[in-house]
Amino acid sequence: MRLWLKRLYRLYFQSDPFKAGLCLLAALTGVSILLGLAWLLGKALWDLGISAWGVDFLRLVLGALWVLLVLFGNALLLVWVERKVAGHMQWRIGPKEVGPFGLLQSIADAVKLMGKELVSPRYVDKPLYLLAPFLIFMPCVVVLLVIPFDPHLQIRDINVGIVLILAFSSLTSIAVFMAGWGSVNKYSLLGGMRSISQQIAYEIPMVLSIVPVVMLSGSLSLKGIVEAQKVPYLLLQPVAFFIYLISAVAEVNRTPFDLPEAESELVAGYHIEYSGMRFAMFFLAEYTNLFIVSALLTTFFLAGYKGPWLPGWAWFFIKTYLVVFVIMWFRWTFPRVRFDQLLNFSWKFLIPLAMLNLVVTGGVLKL
């Protein structure tokens, strides 16, 4: 018996996937502390009973603070988590020297990027080149407004939340193309063009896989979808889950679909000519997008904030970060897909599959 326990210990506690998971757990504890404080603040203010007009204004302010907290806190955290997870999966430890367990690494990176020279090559198309890093951020902020972190922690519950999200997440491809075109460079142009075709190609399966979810829950608002999930839709719509997962990874340009920034082919793709803080914006936007698509995946398929005995936001963040972990796992396991294979996969396989799934769901619901 002891021998078996010892083996179990050695297998699980000392293997690298577990260490990678441990980093995740550390991340979650950090986040939960921050969020607990935020929640307490919100509850306290709610209980204070200010007038309706004041409450609304206060909600707006707190909402803005919340968005900023999630955005930057999440990005900082995910940079560290990614490097640690990557490190452990590659038989090494990631950042270790900068603060305990390398926790201050993201802060060092951020400060360094702020202090870097903003090199603007002479021949770039100034408006496009300068606007792109900011434009890539705006959709993230808008989408964060409607995600239900908790039954009481959603900044605005718009009744067509899904439409809003889908509309704004397409804006990132415009920003990427602006970056690619604006930096007058053949490689970034190739990167930008690839990004546009990729994002268009994978929007459609994404939408098609969300429609069965809407059909099952009968509502377009995100809170309504979460509330309607007595059973997580992962079990009712496994096909839609996988299609959405793959399309989400393609939408945020992560490996195996990271051709727009394919390092070995295109020397950093569409953000070749960006340095310093502008590059940091792209970096930040990537991790924020990652968080957003994982959050949406949890909302649609994993029953959002629902769960026993822990508060809603804790479950939400646990589930979201688990999905983030899985997506990071993809990155360090698979090689890159070739571009025409990528498009073929979407148009010839994912879209027919998604439509089939839609038809079957519709048929089953009718019966």
Binding site: R83, G87, Q90, W91, R92, I93, G94, P95, K96, E97, V98, G102, L104, Q105, I107, A108, D109, A110, V111, K112, G115, K116, E117, L118, V119, P121, R122, Y123, E263, S264, V267, A268, H271, I272, E273, Y274, S275, G276, F279
Partner: protein, 170 residues
């Protein structure tokens, strides 16, 4: 050289920031992103330093960006020939300040074992092309030497040596 490149003038920064500069230097020292400029044999040892055994990422130097605009320091590892010298120059000028250069290996320091009477293609040392901050001798130097070079660069930035060696006691 392409028309757009400007010579980096050797004047110091025009704005001195005092304590903030120290803080910035601390942040910069802890997150030095190298640029992969592997030319010859020393490139393999540089790759081995990034690999799992001599993990360079421990010190924050993980993100090896291939684009020069996003890197902090350039590890010139390998022989500089006449053909590659303008490329090195261009890449150095494309890097965003503040930037540093590590000459890794004997060839980058002074031409290495390829200097002989009547040689016509090797430039004897990369410091004839770009300014160098740290020199790492060896043919090829061990990966630990590259880690030491990184620590020396951090010492140059912050003034504090991270892992003081035994010889520094006095």
């Amino acid at each position: 050289m392409e028309e757009g490149g400007l010579l980096v003038e050797a004047v110091g920064p025009r704005v001195k920031l005092g304590v903030l500069e120290e803080f910035l230097n601390l942040a910069r020292a802890n997150s030095l992103w190298p640029m992969t400029f592997g030319l010859a044999c020393c490139a393999i040892e540089m790759m081995a330093t990034v690999a799992a055994r001599f993990d360079l990422a421990r010190f924050g130097a993980e993100v090896m960006r291939p684009s020069p605009r996003q890197c902090d320091f350039m590890i010139v590892s390998g022989t500089i020939t006449k053909k590659i010298a303008p490329v090195v120059r261009t890449l150095y000028e494309q890097m965003a300040s503040p930037k540093w250069v590590v000459a890794y290996g004997n060839c980058a320091i002074s031409g290495g074992p390829f200097v002989f009477e009547g040689q016509y293609n090797v430039i004897e040392g990369v410091d004839k092309v770009i300014p160098v901050d740290v020199y790492v001798p060896g043919c090829p130097p061990r990966p630990e030497a590259l880690l030491e070079a990184l620590l020396k660069l951090q010492e140059k930035l912050t003034g504090v040596r991270r892992f003081p060696g035994p010889e520094r006691r006095w």
